[in-house]
């Protein structure tokens, strides 16, 4: 199991074209793309895929995210088999989707379901940037909407881990409309008094930032992740100058008033469960002696 994860991690960095560091033993080391320090894959994985030297929070798959977030054996997946069709007959879209399915083991860019986090029952959704940069097409839009609706119906909190390159161009206008659909569902959950927590992970951009990711009652971001509306290159093209390094970082988002807090990955489980507990109906709160 751990070995499999290790394979995924090294494969990812090899794909990125990053240099492999010298190996002290037969095992391949994780080399941080930010600080260039190395550590063993076990240490890296054990540290929840965060660089032990500089705290770089690497992108992780939805399965990996679930493994470090939900209580053991508590996760029940929703809409597992939902899969994209080709609404605007986009050339080669089906082939692209089926290739990604076999490569990632996912049916689209999000996993949703219900679980407990430190005993707190909630609906959870995790986007996965390895599937077409977690762009939002019909499947992401529908699963997110159903998650909002389930949260309202079952009176459970909703926690969404967002990551996305934005709308899925291959689904044309249909993908744009998912922004309205998901935001409308968020508005309805809000009217029903439901708690919605967003965790912005790397990268949260475009149509997802301009819809449900920005609508959380409480918006958490992982440190230094990319959060923004327009792509960096698009803005640089418009203003004809280079943007500073920290532009559109989690810290930039917090400073400008669009996130509530930055929380390190190792503290997320505790933070989320505490926040959920604070939103329990008053009568259910245990009397503290």
């Amino acid at each position: 199991m751990l070995e499999d994860l290790f394979k995924v991690v090294t494969a990812r960095f090899n794909n990125d074209g990053s240099e492999k560091s010298a190996e002290t033993s037969s095992e391949k080391l994780f080399k941080c793309p930010r600080c260039s320090e190395s550590c063993s894959p076990e240490e890296f994985t054990g540290n929840k895929w965060v660089c032990p030297s500089c705290g770089y929070h690497s992108r992780i798959s939805a399965r990996e995210r679930l493994s470090i977030t939900v209580d053991k054996d508590s996760f029940r997946e929703y809409d597992k088999d939902m899969s994209s069709l080709n609404p605007i007959d986009f050339p080669d879209y089906e082939a692209k989707i089926s290739g990604l399915k076999s490569r990632t083991g996912l049916n689209d860019a999000i996993i949703t379901g219900e679980c407990t986090i430190k005993g707190e029952k909630c609906i959870i959704g995790v986007m996965d940037s390895h599937f077409m940069m977690a762009s939002m097409g019909s499947v992401v839009g529908e699963k997110v909407t159903r998650a909002f609706e389930a949260a309202a119906e079952k009176k459970l909190p909703l926690v969404l881990f967002t990551a996305s390159g934005g709308a899925r161009m291959q689904e044309g206008l249909v993908s744009l409309m998912q922004m309205a659909k998901t935001s409308g569902a968020a508005a309805k959950l809000s009217q029903a008094g439901g708690l919605y927590i967003t965790v912005l992970t790397d990268p949260t951009t475009g149509g997802v930032t301009a819809s449900f990711a920005s609508l959380g009652d409480i918006i958490i971001a992982e440190p230094k992740v990319l959060v923004g509306f327009a792509g960096r290159r698009v803005i640089e093209g418009t203003i004809k100058q280079r943007l500073p390094e920290d532009f559109q970082s989690a810290e930039f988002t917090l400073e400008n008033g669009f996130a509530d807090m930055i929380v390190e990955r190792k503290n997320l489980r505790r933070t989320i469960s505490h926040l959920i507990r604070l939103h329990r109906p008053y009568k259910e709160v245990d009397i503290i002696v």
Binding site: F90, V174, G207, A210, L215, F229, V234, I235
Partner: protein, 285 residues
């Protein structure tokens, strides 16, 4: 001009005009903008300014006026026709304060039981440092969410360019109409070509596969009505185009205003709720 003639004309044009030709029509420098249509469609119009939070965005115009006898709130993206107009309206690319002004006026409309009429005409929300700092994503998201539950009828009309989230921010409505030659797209055809083929000059090819015309939007269940334009495009007869828009608005408002608000809101939610194409079987591929 009789209504019949318009309709016949529309059918002829639809067969003949390619999506790219429509793009050329809406880029015609004489294409009417909301500033042309306002006095032709509304009476006693008062422009209202500012989002009460940061500033006043010239890319989005708002105000109150009368459509026939009905007091309405008008919210519109403003294209310019020369460099001065475009400077004032930032080429119809709104900043967050534009969307927040729109939301302020929509809530005001809700308070006074006025219907809201939105006119969409933008290449997209502005992409820049200030827009990011002031939360472009949040501003659009908030409009999508709040318009979905706004307790008054909302009608939107795409006049020319319906560019991406910047257009959709005024597009959560009970009924969407598009002028015959207008387009509505997830990204500009140029942006599409540059992302997909790394070549922005392939705009024409992009237009032809993106499904961006009014007819496409109707077929995809996203727009309800196509408003006919005079032959060759709206610039050939702005008065007739304005009259066609007015007819659509009066008819649609009359039917929407009669509805119980909860019914209307359910229908609005379901109009968007049902958009999406997917399968739910366990078979792979």
């Amino acid at each position: 001009m009789s209504e019949e003639m318009n309709v016949t004309g529309a059918e002829d044009i639809t067969d003949a005009i390619t999506p790219y030709e429509r793009l050329e029509i809406i880029r015609n420098k004489n294409r009417p903008t909301i500033r042309d249509y306002l006095p032709l469609i509304f009476n006693d119009f008062f422009e209202l300014h500012g989002d009460r939070l940061y500033g006043d965005d010239g890319a989005i115009l708002g105000g109150i006026g009368r459509l026939g006898n009905i007091p309405v709130t008008v919210i519109a993206e403003v294209k310019g026709r020369d460099i001065f107009e475009n400077k004032a309206s930032n080429f119809a690319m709104p900043h967050p304060e534009g969307y927040r002004k729109a939301l302020r006026l929509a809530r005001q409309a809700e308070k006074f039981n006025r219907p809201v009429i939105c006119f969409i005409d933008t290449p997209g929300a502005f992409c820049g440092i200030a827009a990011e700092k002031r939360g472009q994503g949040e501003a659009i998201a908030r409009n999508l969410a709040e318009f979905m539950v706004l307790k008054t009828p909302v009608i939107s009309v795409v006049l020319g360019e319906g560019g991406s989230g910047g257009a959709l921010a005024l597009g959560v409505c009970d009924e969407l109409a598009m002028l015959e030659n207008s387009i509505y797209s997830v990204i500009s055809p140029r942006g599409f070509a540059s992302i997909l083929w790394k070549d922005a000059s392939k705009e024409k090819e992009a237009c032809n596969i993106m499904r961006i015309t009014a007819e496409d939007a109707v077929n995809l269940g996203i727009a309800e009505q196509i408003i006919p334009e005079p032959e060759g495009g709206a610039h050939n007869d702005p008065e007739m185009t304005a009259e066609n828009i007015s007819k659509f608005l009066v008819k649609t408002l009359n039917s929407k205003m009669k509805k119980d608000i909860d019914v209307l809101l359910n229908e609005r939610y379901n109009k968007f709720r049902k958009i999406g194409v997917f399968s739910e079987t366990s078979e792979n591929i």
